[in-house]
Amino acid sequence: MANVIKLRKGLDINLKGKATEEIANVKATGLYALVPDDFVGVKPKVVVKEGDNVKAGGVLFIDKKHPEVKFVSPVAGKVTAVERGERRKVLSVQVTAAAQQEYEDFGKKNVASLKGSEVLATLLEAGMFGFFRQRPYDVTPNPEVAPRAIFVSAFSSMPLAQNFEFALNGNEADFQTGLDALARIAPTYLGVSSKQSAAALTAAKNVTVTVFDGPNPAGNVGVQINHVAPVNKGEVVWTVNPEVVIFIGRLFNTGKVDMTRTIAVVGSEVKAPKYAKVLVGQQITPLLEGNISTDKHVRIINGNVLTGIKSNKDAFLGAQSTEITVIPEGDDVHEMLGWIMPRFNEFSTSRSYFSWLLGKKEYAPDARIKGGERHMIMSGEYDSVFPMDIYPEQLLKAIITGDIDKMEQLGIYEVAPEDFAVAEFVDSSKVELQRIVREGLNMLRAEME
């Protein structure tokens, strides 16, 4: 029986536009792109030129600091653009798919007979390692530093998040192979939700399964690490998204890079919220064509509402995104006397609103901040939704003041920006917590490395 950890702190936000568990038929546009910004901490060096032909699994760019970390094309085709922004920063490497799909062959391998270093070499070669993250700093890891452990969270508790159990359907064998591969590298921990019952998760082999029961952000891998075996100064752990575990399994089982994933297209402005089978880096236009409301400004989010990035219809599916969410933008709304009106349609954790009375009502919030930024006034707000043994407010203040010693002491090595997402949502002072944490992590990394 797996160890069960109950979490009390947190907040589930009930939003409109949940996906029904069926796969929509989507025809891709044929344009794909890998966006270096999706791989935090990587300095990309593009190794292809416009006009080059690549196979699926062919390298598009590498990390300047660690050239062995490669980022590969999801499809076979022709490199049509290397989009650059200010100071020649690489924004995306775009590939137009060829009619005939060819795959780089990395060779079928039996994971059980491989050493950890061989598994790692294959993952680096096939571009899978780029999808990994490490704590501290929540960046793509340095492959030379062996991790103490690898953590996989098999669920996301974010609002309208993809149901991984549904995405796992039919991929159980690949998922297990992926876990086996990770377990060759370092002890691997799998966090599953108390609501998940698939045997591939609860009875996963070669890994330590821990069941988490609690509100969002219980699905955050950072929260799970904090409860299973917190990261100490000087230690490194790797985290891998469950979708990527499936990719890894496919790589070893077929010898091919196949980055097909099942994402949820959700949100109050999506007419028929459903799942779709897509490739990483696919243009999101066809997912939304004729499927979103047109009577108001909408915000298209690459990812979920709390950690996703504002995007647009022509953008590409993020490397780590498992949802595309569409909500009202709200910049054309003028609401009067908000500080005193009852505002029945607004969700709030504060009892000065009526969310607590309306029970299971589904809300359709827009992207307005709904207040001005202030200093941190109310105490205990962050604390009530932060299920880690860390003082979030004090840590944030240490980051704001640039006090590196304090940051270390207060546990910055254990956190990622996403862990502060719910706190940022409930914050009445409207401080940009995730941005602050990211800056703090970057500051510390620049200082330490």
Binding site: I13, P159, P230, N232, R299, L306, G308, K310, I327, E329, G330, D331, V333, H334, E335, M336, L337, G338, W339, I340, F347, S348, S350, R351, S352, Y353, P365, D366, A367, R368, I369, K370, G371, G372, E373, R374, H375, I377, M378, S379, G380, D383, Y391, E393, Q394, Q409, L410, G411, P417, A421, E424, F425, V426, D427, S428, K430, E432, L433, Q434, R435
Partner: protein, 390 residues
């Protein structure tokens, strides 16, 4: 609504950079966000936000203060006509109090908000709502006979030196309303204590029965009586309903209790602090009831009366719970509350110069709040260090 929005949009350019009224940008901004929820949308981080903001939180506190304001007004009139020995109707009493209290509220807001607007404009920031609460509390914690000019000076002093120089609402470490009161108390002691300030003996704008009040009329608060070695004349029920002399808003336990329910229900005030203030006060008073010498009358006031006289309730509910100046850690709140409750009673019983202890107790609490937090945070830090060393 649309017409109003159009008008606001029309005049808006005047206040923007380069507009002729740019010097009043912060004022315009304050009023615009007061009328309409700002519709700026999230740029980084979360894409949706909780509907709560500091405007609404502060409004809840102001709403919670209204019962105290209304009762305070009535009690000012009640005490006036009682002193005059005149039988007045409910509305006469209330109207007299209204005329006595309203100028203080207006002056408090005018002076405090003017400073806030200037500072916001100067620092190119948005107006912060903190003063909405402070400005309502200040008139409630002063005696009715406090002259307006003194009030102006005290408010200007405390808003500038207790708040703005530290960076505004959220950065101050003393409660601004209490600094105002402390300033008044130490700079103008004769206007703040004694037995001549608690009942309005003059007519307000020509209204009232001052001619019936004897020259040199005095009325002491229950704590004042006890400190002077006299027996307390007020009954327990008067102390609870609030028909006793005292600072304008602090007398009625019932009005304060209504405010407390609003604050606790909306989650604006901390239950932990509020409760532990009462626990700390009750236990200390109980201790003094047992060990206090017989000639120290204040120490011998029964513990339950200690909790309902003077500013104890008002301080516990509205000022000790100020989120900015109280500890930020959850455990620290218990210690902080207990400390304030206990200290208030100790000052009452063993300070010969000053019958009430709540003001100084909360200010002392504000002073040690960062220290309490430090201990809790340090224990978390040590836990993390031990993990490495293990």
């Amino acid at each position: 609504m649309n017409a109003l929005r159009k008008y606001v949009d029309k005049i808006k350019p005047n206040f923007e950079e380069g507009g002729k009224l740019h010097a009043f940008r912060s004022v315009f901004d304050g009023f615009e966000t007061f009328l309409f929820v700002p519709n700026t949308t999230a740029k980084s981080g979360v894409n949706i936000h909780d509907a709560i903001d500091s405007k609404r939180i502060m409004s809840m506190v102001v709403i919670a203060l209204i019962p105290c304001v209304l009762f305070g007004m009535y009690n000012v009139g009640y005490q006036h006509y009682l002193a005059a020995g005149v039988d007045a109707s409910f509305w006469e009493k209330f109207f007299f109090g209204f005329l006595a209290v309203l100028p203080k509220i207006i002056v408090s807001y005018l002076v405090g908000l003017a400073i806030e607007f200037v500072v916001a404009q100067w620092k190119n920031e948005e107006i912060q709502e903190g003063y909405l609460v402070t400005g309502m509390i200040i008139p409630l914690i002063i005696p009715v006979d406090c002259p307006l000019w003194i009030l102006c000076i005290a408010i200007a002093f405390s808003v500038i030196f207790a708040k703005e120089i530290f960076g505004g609402t959220g950065m101050n470490f003393f409660n601004v309303a209490l600094i105002t009161r402390a300033f008044l108390f130490f700079a103008y002691p004769t206007k703040m204590s004694g037995d001549q300030v608690w009942v309005a003996t003059d007519n307000q704008f020509g209204f009232g029965a001052a001619d019936k009040i004897a020259d040199g009329f005095t009325a002491a608060t229950p704590l004042g009586q006890a400190a002077a070695g006299q027996d307390i004349t007020a009954s327990l029920s008067d102390m609870i309903t609030g028909f006793i002399p005292g600072s304008i808003g602090e007398t009625s336990v019932i009005a304060i209790a209504i405010g407390a329910i609003i604050l606790l229900w909306t989650g604006v005030a901390s239950f932990k602090i509020m409760c532990s203030v009462f626990v700390g006060g009750a236990l200390t008073a109980l201790l003094f009831n047992g060990i206090g010498s017989a000639d120290n009358l204040v120490a011998n006031i029964p513990w339950y009366e200690h909790l309902v006289v003077g500013g104890f309730c008002f301080g516990a509910v509205f000022m000790a719970t100020d989120p900015v100046t109280s500890p930020r850690t959850s455990g620290g709140k218990y210690i902080y509350g207990f400390f304030i409750g206990a200290l208030a009673i100790i000052i009452r019983a063993y300070n010969p110069g000053y019958p009430e202890g709540m003001m100084l107790a909360i200010l002392m609490g504000n002073l040690i709040a960062p220290l309490i937090d430090y201990c809790f945070v340090q224990s978390n830090i040590n836990k993390r260090l031990n993990r490495i060393n293990k």
